[in-house]
Assembly symmetry: C2
Homo-oligomer: 133 residues x 2
């Protein structure tokens, strides 16, 4: 059974040491195993769960919602349907997020084009008729 030091986990998951401790404190992570000196040793399972947390966080799920999901995961197999429900609705939320992002992006791109046109006109003014320069 492989175990990971806090430093390794931070490296792998991209969470800071402080964030890892914070997640454990608030119960997003179950109490992590310790070695004789009291230092954390993360299991494969911990690291896997942190991967899930990474996905959910990066897609905008608030910590409170992740805590509820964590509760489901800990409550055993009879919650599998509920977990699917949570993830499906989050999947839909991500889709909506992307749709909005694309919409706003198009508006910004139109603005860029507008500024380019403004520039082009300005240049025309500088050299109104190339043939006559």
């Amino acid at each position: 059974m492989t175990v990971y030091t806090p430093g390794q986990v931070a490296e792998e998951t991209g969470f800071s040491l402080d964030t890892l401790r914070y997640y454990e404190r608030i119960g997003l992570l179950e109490p992590v195993e310790r070695n004789a000196a009291g230092q954390r040793r993360f299991s494969e399972e911990d690291v896997g769960w942190l991967g899930m947390v990474r996905c959910l966080r990066d897609t905008g799920m608030p910590i409170a919602a992740m805590l509820r999901f964590a509760q489901l995961v800990r409550s055993g197999d009879h919650t599998v349907a509920d977990r699917i429900g949570v993830l499906e609705s989050h999947d839909a939320a991500i889709e909506a997020q992307i749709t909005l992002l694309r919409e706003r992006q198009r508006a910004i791109q139109r603005k860029i084009q507008y500024y380019r046109d403004v520039q082009a006109v300005a240049e025309l003014r500088e050299t109104p008729d190339p043939a006559r320069r």
Copy 2:
């Protein structure tokens, strides 16, 4: 020249009255015109700028960056190239955001599929051999 009351602007832009006042306070909005009673009357231009702010906010631009952009807009035509630069790099940031979101979304969808498989196996266990029920 049409003007808009705070309520109308809130309605149209989706920003709350408090947020509109906050944006003016921090200088994201230039001092808004007032009527005789000291109440705000937003111009078309204000509303247009708020549309831009909406786009930038919704796509994750921090307020500090929007303030810098606002400065460029106010500094006159010679900043058009800079504005294009800001918007282009923000456009790229949005693209990156969407790419990450899609990546995470795929991982979540794989997880959903995994849970569905777990469920299927569980059902098999309940009725191991349909022919023999």
